[in-house]
């Protein structure tokens, strides 16, 4: 079993590693410390996330920042600075600031379609030609979201941001009427789409440039030496580490100049082992792909979190269960996307009024609005028309850590010194990835989990693949699901009297099966939930055991411990409680 990807953590970012070593993950009990670190690491991660995750409904209104903060750009003519001097990120602005800058009331702020142009990627680090196209593609796919129109100036080579701004101005000047027509509203009086001067100015003043740069690209072959049960195991891996920064410039249409306003950075690691039918070239590509996948995921979320690019819109209709609003697939709205709901005050403050998740996405042609389900409402039972929705960008990954008890049946066998046992303590880590986009089924998650069980005189390590469907009743969620799993148990028989049994050795056996289960979760914030789950594990019974050995060459015949009346039936009820963090 060699899972294609596993979630790893590092560098302050949530990253996806390309591949992992199956020996590392499933080697037990010698690798127990590594397993524990896997369980503990998410807990350590979850703490700050939970602490920083604001509650669904903030009691105190948020104060808007001082007016001076709103004055953008923060870095005048920064585009003229040498590429190496990356300015500090500008503080995040609130919609109020963005709206103030546009001379609008923040409570009426709504997403106005922007346009974007790509400037050729700067190679600050040496990127092999074979990977350069992949890096560019990963970054462009992450930045050029459906919420943008694309101003294609790619036919112009090697432009500086200022030259590009002039080119974008030319380009926009030529297309802005047509673009306004595409976005305009049909007026029955004139039997035509109305294009106003304000539309033209909005389109002209909503152009952006972005220029990625590859700040770090490292691809190394590593020789990994591990000692398992005192024996040396050597493996070869390719490890990739890539860092990318993306500078955003706003195009000042009137002057034809580029003004830098935001820099996003992302880095990712990936690794892939050689062997098991994987060549060096394949491993190199997979390692880089893993790093780029991580970068793409982070960048896609961070671009959506840029204040000027955030989806904003007022609630156009509100019911008991949810709200309707005027965003559609044209803006890249996705199923299960989360939105904060805000109340604005006349003095400029704003207060969270609730949280919703998208359940129906309008196509932008026949249906010009979408529906979202109320997840949390701070005041009363329903949200209200006119409240402002603001996107809460997430990558759709959930990390779950929980622990509990597992019922099983261990048949007593006096000759092996084993008594009856029925209950063990179990710990588990599980990653869930939203499948809503791929399947168009709301709140469907694919899961990959690992567990560790400490039973009466034995340990057990297993992995599970599964599906969960979340059914929301506001913040309370019912989670029916199922898992397909594989486990390996490790038995020691120190009190064995049977001559064939080595009391100092470890015996292993495997099982597989399915676990239907039902969980209940309660979301404290969109990022943090607590929950309990119950399921019934139906796995194959173990009677044939092997002597655990680190010697890959050894080929010992399985022992039928059932002959001593011993058998381990992993099937039984499982009960868990734990926490989950959503990214």
């Amino acid at each position: 079993m060699n899972p294609p990807a596993v979630w790893s953590l590092g560098g302050g970012r949530f990253r996806i590693a390309g591949q992992t070593d199956k020996l590392t993950l499933f080697q037990a009990p010698g690798s127990m410390r590594q397993l524990f670190s896997l369980f503990l690491l998410p807990l350590l991660l979850a703490a700050p996330v939970a602490a920083s995750a604001s509650a669904f409904a903030a009691a105190a209104p948020e104060d808007g920042p001082p007016a001076a903060d709103a004055a953008m750009p923060k870095v005048p003519a920064a585009a003229e600075t040498p590429p190496a001097a990356i300015p500090a990120e500008t503080p995040a602005e609130t919609p109020k600031d963005a709206a103030k800058e546009l001379g609008k009331d923040a409570s009426v702020a709504t997403y106005e379609r922007k346009s974007i142009s790509y400037l050729r990627t700067v190679r600050r680090a040496k990127v092999p030609d074979e990977f350069y196209a992949g890096v560019v593609r990963a970054v462009r796919e992450s930045v050029e979201l459906p919420r943008f129109d694309y101003n294609d100036i790619s036919h112009l080579e090697a432009l500086t941001p200022q030259e590009a701004a002039a080119a974008v101005r030319e380009y926009l000047d030529a297309v802005k009427v047509e673009r306004a027509r595409e976005q305009g509203e049909y007026d029955l009086r004139f039997k035509d789409v109305v294009i106003t001067g304000a539309d033209l100015r909005r389109i002209a003043d909503s152009a952006y440039l972005y220029q990625p740069s590859v700040d770090r690209f490292s691809l190394q072959r590593k020789r990994i030496v591990q000692y398992v049960n005192g024996k040396q195991v050597v493996s070869l891996r390719w490890v990739a580490a890539v860092s990318v920064s993306v500078r955003f410039y706003r195009v000042d249409f009137a002057r034809g100049r580029a003004v830098e306003f935001k820099v996003l950075r992302a880095s990712g690691d990936g690794s892939a082992g050689v062997g098991y039918g994987i060549s060096h070239n394949q491993a190199r590509r997979e390692a880089v792909a893993g790093a780029l996948g991580s970068i793409a995921t982070v960048l896609r979320r961070d671009v959506r979190a840029v204040e000027e690019f955030k989806l904003l819109t007022p609630v156009s209709a509100a019911g008991f269960n949810g709200v309707t609003f005027a965003l559609t697939r044209r803006e890249g709205l996705a199923l299960d996307q989360g939105f904060w709901v805000y109340d604005y005050f006349t003095d400029g403050r704003r207060q969270k009024a609730g949280y919703v998740k998208v359940r129906r996405v309008g196509d932008g042609e026949k249906r010009l609005d979408s529906d979202a389900e109320n997840i949390a409402v701070s005041n009363g039972w329903r949200l209200e028309e006119g409240q402002l929705l603001e996107e809460n960008p997430q990558i759709g990954v959930t990390l779950l850590v929980d622990g509990g008890v597992q019922r099983y049946r261990l048949q007593d066998a006096p000759a092996l010194g084993v008594g009856d046992a029925t209950t063990g303590i179990k710990a588990r880590i599980e990653a869930g990835y939203s499948l809503a986009q791929a399947t168009r089924v709301s709140e469907l998650y694919g899961t990959l989990g690992l567990h560790f069980l400490a039973g009466g005189g034995f340990t057990e390590v297993g992995g599970e693949l599964g599906l969960d469907k979340r059914l929301y009743f506001r913040r309370l969620v019912l989670v029916p699901g199922a898992r397909l799993g594989y486990l390996k148990s490790y038995f020691d028989f120190p009190g064995a009297t049977a001559p064939e049994i080595d009391p100092w050795a470890t015996y292993t056996a495997s099982s597989f099966g399915v676990t239907p289960r039902l969980g209940v979760e309660f979301f404290l914030s969109p990022a943090f939930s607590i929950g309990a789950r119950a399921g019934y594990r139906a796995y194959t019974t173990q009677t044939q055991f092997e002597l655990s050995s680190d010697d890959e060459e050894s080929d010992t015949a399985p022992l039928d411990l059932g002959a001593y009346g011993f058998q381990y039936d992993p099937s039984g009820l499982e009960l868990y409680g734990g926490i989950a963090v959503s990214f």
Partner: protein
């Protein structure tokens, strides 16, 4: 009666006292803030309104009521109508939602003691409101006017600067269509050319009108004439042009050229694409005409109570004692026939009166002729007549 029964009785009294208090929640607007943005056509107007309330639904309803009140203010003009509106407005506010064709919440904010304050962009069905007010008797006076005197006939005249524009015909048609939708009789300036063949005497009579435009209106027999002007401003956004129109409309009483009211309307700024000039002109004109009509109806309802206005031109020899007697007889007869009148001009050769008469021009003509003949034994010969002008000659 034991204490329990007393308590139950007290509680019952309290409930009975509270129920009507709850039911009597005012249906009148709280904000009273609304502004007409534009007239979409003769029947619908776009209004920006503020609504306040404990929650969004209540604030929305308050905005609806404020918008309906604003549109109603343009419909009720006479003192009598205002009294009627004051008495019946609660009924209209109670069903304010029926007059709202569509709405959009432009902003929603929370404020101090008022929980929710909304800015609404609404389309109000003015015709439906007007019909209901007529049915409720609020606009009864207007209904009577409509049956007896009808709405004023209006002559629409473009300023000279407009006449050279390519969209001149469209502008006139737009104004004409707009007024027709509002049930006004519109007399087209273009018909003047058909009247060019009028007699020299008539031309001379018309020549007594205060200015050339009034002369045209008089020729056509309009009660009121509206002179409009449209200016189209052009600007650039990059290489693309934009168009924004402003229109002015001035309304005058035909017989005196007295100004009744004036208004200016604006269009949005349109991208200069095919037909954008026409869109801008039409939008600005709708806006201006809609505003000036408020003044027109205000004037008309006051004036029409006295009857239609006519201009009477009597030609003859009014020199000497004999002439003076005839002039006195004519003055007396005019006074008897139409008590509301004014003498505009009196010379040795002609007398010119402005009279208010509740009847048609022919009724007035025959009444004058009959009375004059009875009083003097002489005849008043009709030289010419149209809807506003009667020209007579003493035989």
């Amino acid at each position: 009666m034991n204490m329990n029964k007393v308590r139950w009785f007290g509680a019952l009294l309290l409930v009975l006292a509270l129920v009507p208090a709850c039911g009597n929640k005012s249906v009148r607007p709280t904000s009273w803030q609304a502004e007409v943005v534009e007239s979409l056509d003769g029947n619908r107007v776009r209004v920006n309104a503020i609504g306040v309330g404990d929650d969004t639904d209540e604030a929305k309803l308050d905005g609806f009521r404020a918008a309906v009140n604003r549109v109603a203010q343009d419909l009720v003009q006479s003192q009598e109508e205002r009294f009627g509106w004051e008495a019946s407005s609660d009924e209209v506010f109670g069903k304010a939602g029926q007059y709202i064709e569509s709405y959009k919440i432009k902003s929603r904010r929370k404020e101090g003691d008022i929980d929710v304050k909304l800015t609404l962009d609404l389309v109000v069905n003015r015709k439906r409101l007007n019909d209901d007010l007529v049915a409720m008797g609020v606009l009864k006076a207007q209904r009577e006017l409509l049956s007896d005197l009808k709405n004023p006939s209006i002559v629409v005249i473009a300023e000279d600067a407009v006449k050279t524009k390519a969209w001149r015909r469209l502008a006139t048609d737009h104004v004409t269509g707009y007024l027709t939708t509002r049930k006004f009789e519109v007399l087209d300036e273009g018909q003047v050319t058909k009247l060019q063949g009028m007699s020299a005497d008539t031309r001379a009579a018309v020549g007594t009108a205060p200015d050339a435009v009034a002369q045209i209106a008089l020729q056509l027999g309009g009660d009121i004439y509206i002179v409009y002007d449209v200016k189209v401003d052009r600007a650039k956004v990059g290489r693309d042009g934009t168009v924004k129109a402003s229109a002015s409309a001035r309304a005058f009483e035909t017989t005196t050229a007295r100004s009744i009211g004036s208004a200016t309307g604006f269009s949005r700024e349109y991208a200069a694409t095919a037909g954008s000039d026409e869109k801008a002109v039409a939008e600005a004109l709708s806006d201006a005409i809609d505003r000036v009509l408020v003044n027109v109806m205000d004037y008309w309802k006051d004036d029409a109570i006295k009857g239609f206005q006519f201009l009477i031109e009597v030609r003859g020899d009014f020199k000497g004692d004999g002439g003076e007697k005839i002039r006195r007889d004519i003055y007396r007869i005019v006074k008897e026939t139409a008590p509301e009148f004014k003498e505009n001009l009196a010379t040795d050769r002609s007398l010119n009166y402005r009279v208010w008469y509740k009847g048609s021009n022919t009724d007035l003509l025959f009444a004058l002729q009959d009375r004059f003949e009875s009083a003097t034994g002489r005849k008043l010969k009709s030289v010419s007549q149209n809807r506003k002008l009667i020209q007579l000659e003493v035989q």
